[in-house]
């Protein structure tokens, strides 16, 4: 049977330094491999590379027999269920605890009851709360559960990656976590844990020294009694489904895209009755301007998902960064229809359709530009807005073409 995780001669650069050079690592089912080394030795880098989050200068990363990323930039989702806890928690403050855990669990296509796990972590009474209302330690517990629950729900071997999972956890919680790691290992899942915590190191079957790349077996950890975790099939939550849900919960779209459209309509209407005196080309240009403005604001979720590196978590586990999906179609159609009413123009189905498609295309075009800067150290400072005028020419050509 192939290893659940294989790093083949991996070389990774961060900043101007080569952090990993010709690095090899393998994690099989039933193994708990602990990454050890001093601060800055590259433990988190190994973990993020294993999750397919960092580009490689050389080598490849395999989940099972499938290459998830290689040095030529090829990237695909692995066939395995992946549980992941990064150094940051990867959870948005606007999420409800119970819903987040169910969503994380669904990534493997199965679900299990989260309540016993919340109870063991002394969080059952917080199940219906927003993550933003929890303490740092409590959010860390949720982040750890997000990685463990998919494995507990799965009958197939899973890969679980944990980066400093015990940081901020109280002693009781660490003790429970050690038991869970043991149970998951006994069930045949593969665990990779970056930690300095001696209690977690006691659960390891192998120690991997990141600085030297050497893996040594260690004394067999004590087995713990099995835990019953009934599971049932579950529909996987897609980035689009999560994105639309988050948009409706937080109303992010109204704050940026919606307001841009409303302000555009408002400013045009405030100019008086100039509209009937315009040429057909100018009239259509003004009619579609609110939908265009809404799209130009891009995807507000891209900025929101930087909170606690939620975007990275989604890219590794969910296969993409959450987005508004088809929502821009609806917003574009509504604001174009609204602009028609405002300009006292008969409602034209073609114009509404074009407004919807325009908003959708521009919204996702700007999102593409926004996502192009996610690797940067300071993505918010990269001024992607400077690139948006590239969309004005296609807009002008579209309006010109429609009025011929």
């Amino acid at each position: 049977m192939a290893a659940l995780l294989t790093l083949n001669e991996v070389e990774v650069r961060r900043g101007m330094d080569v952090v990993l050079r010709n690095h090899h690592l393998s994690v099989s089912g039933g193994q708990c491999v602990a990454l050890v080394g001093a601060n800055g030795s590259g433990k988190s880098t190994v973990l993020e590379v294993s999750a397919g989050l960092l580009p490689l200068e050389k080598g490849s990363v395999l989940h099972g027999e499938t290459t998830v990323i290689d040095h030529e930039g090829r990237r695909r989702n692995g066939p395995l269920t992946l549980g992941l806890t990064l150094q940051k928690n990867g959870v948005l403050g606007s999420e409800v605890v119970e819903e987040h855990l169910q969503m994380a669990c669904s990534m493997g296509g199965t679900s299990t009851e989260a309540a016993p796990f919340l109870e063991a972590f002394n969080l059952k009474h917080r199940a219906k709360d927003l993550v933003a209302h929890l303490s740092q330690g409590q959010v860390r517990k949720i982040a750890v559960l997000s990685a463990l629950l998919p494995a507990f729900a799965s009958d197939e071997p899973c890969l679980v990656l944990l980066d400093e999972p015990s940081t901020g956890l109280d002693d009781d919680a660490v003790k429970v976590l050690c038991e869970w790691l043991s149970v998951l290992r006994q069930r045949g899942h593969g665990l990779l844990v970056a930690t300095h915590d001696q209690r977690l190191l006691g659960q390891a079957t192998h120690l991997h020294a990141v600085a030297t790349g050497a893996t040594e077996p260690c004394e067999a950890p004590k087995d713990h009694p099995e835990i019953t975790t009934p599971s049932s099939p579950s529909r996987r939550c897609s980035p689009a489904a999560f994105g639309v849900k988050t948009h409706f919960q937080t109303m992010l779209w109204l704050n940026s895209n919606g307001m841009a459209a409303l302000l555009t309509v408002g400013i045009l209407l405030a100019m008086g009755t100039f509209y009937p005196n315009l040429t057909p080309l100018q009239q259509l240009g003004f009619l579609l301007a609110p939908a265009f403005a809404a799209g130009l604001c891009g995807e507000p979720l891209v900025a929101a998902m930087r909170e606690e590196r939620a975007a990275s978590w989604w890219m590794a586990v969910g296969g993409g960064v959450p987005h508004a999906g088809g929502m821009p179609l609806m917003i574009g159609a509504v604001v174009t229809a609204g602009a028609s009413v405002g300009f006292e123009e008969p409602l034209n189905g073609l114009h509404v359709l074009v407004g919807a498609l325009l908003c959708f295309a521009v919204w996702h075009g700007v999102r593409f530009m926004q996502l192009a800067t996610v690797r940067l150290a300071r993505p918010h400072a990269a001024m992607v807005g400077l690139l948006t005028p590239v969309l004005i020419l296609p807009y002008a050509v579209l309006v010109d073409w429609l009025t011929r």
């Binding site: 961060r14 900043g15 101007m16 200068e57 800067t373 690797r375 400072a381 020419l393 002008a396």
Partner: protein, 229 residues
């Protein structure tokens, strides 16, 4: 060396401008709305030519970094983007002045060459400002090198724009099958100006590459000092 080349370039451009204003013949009054403003052409066209050289360097530097991981190619990327920004702004600014006098408007959203060139300049602004906002590292270099490659798609489009869509911008006046449409003296001054701009932009890029090299050496020394401390 770079300083000498820059000095020659500046001198050549100064001489070109003197020749353009004092010696080159005026264009036909009938053909132009604003014949006096036409003389800006001796600045506008060579600046655009120099911008294409700079954007070419940006493309080569970007590709060199992405495919070869060459520090020298990264320095070329930096130099090309800065030179592209400078010459792009020279071209756009002079074009707006000329357009205002000749067309009655400084900008025409329906003119493909004008807009694609404007976008190229905007891309150069983005690459220069965006890169300066980030710490140097492979993530920064990969991201902005990728933008450098995307932007180069606009160069051939901008170059052929007036051959495909002649709206406001005049068609090509040199390098055409009929031998061109400008007279000898005008062509001579234009050629001299284009050579001067080429020398200037080459000098600019040499100086910029040297500066980036020194910055990289300083960065390495700082890292070594950190380790010792």
């Amino acid at each position: 060396m770079a300083s000498a080349v820059l000095f020659v370039g500046f001198g050549g451009i100064g001489a070109s401008m003197l020749l353009a204003l004092l010696w080159a013949p005026s264009v036909s009054i009938d053909a132009f709305e604003s014949p006096a403003a036409q003389r800006i052409f001796y600045w506008h066209v060579p600046a655009a030519w120099a911008a294409f050289i700079a954007f070419g360097a940006l493309f080569i530097g970007s590709a060199g970094w992405l495919f070869k991981r060459s520090d020298r190619m990264w320095r070329l990327h930096v130099a090309g983007s800065e030179a592209g920004l400078a010459t792009g702004l020279m071209t756009v600014w002079s074009g707006c002045v000329w357009g205002a006098a000749e067309w009655g408007t400084p900008w025409d959203w329906t003119d493909v060459r004008l807009n694609t060139f404007g976008l190229l300049t905007l891309l150069a602004i983005y690459v220069v400002l965006g890169r300066n906002s980030q710490p140097d590292g492979v993530e920064t270099r990969d991201t902005f090198a990728a933008f450098g490659l995307y932007g180069f798609v606009l160069v051939p489009l901008t170059y052929i724009a007036t051959r495909i869509w002649t709206i406001r911008h005049p068609g090509p006046v040199v390098g055409t099958d009929d031998g061109g449409s400008i007279n000898g003296e005008m062509g001579l001054v234009l050629l001299f100006s284009a050579i001067s701009f080429t020398v200037l932009i080459v000098g600019h890029m040499m100086a910029s590459m040297r500066l980036t090299d020194l910055e990289q050496k300083l960065e390495r020394l700082q890292v070594q000092t950190d380790k010792v401390a």
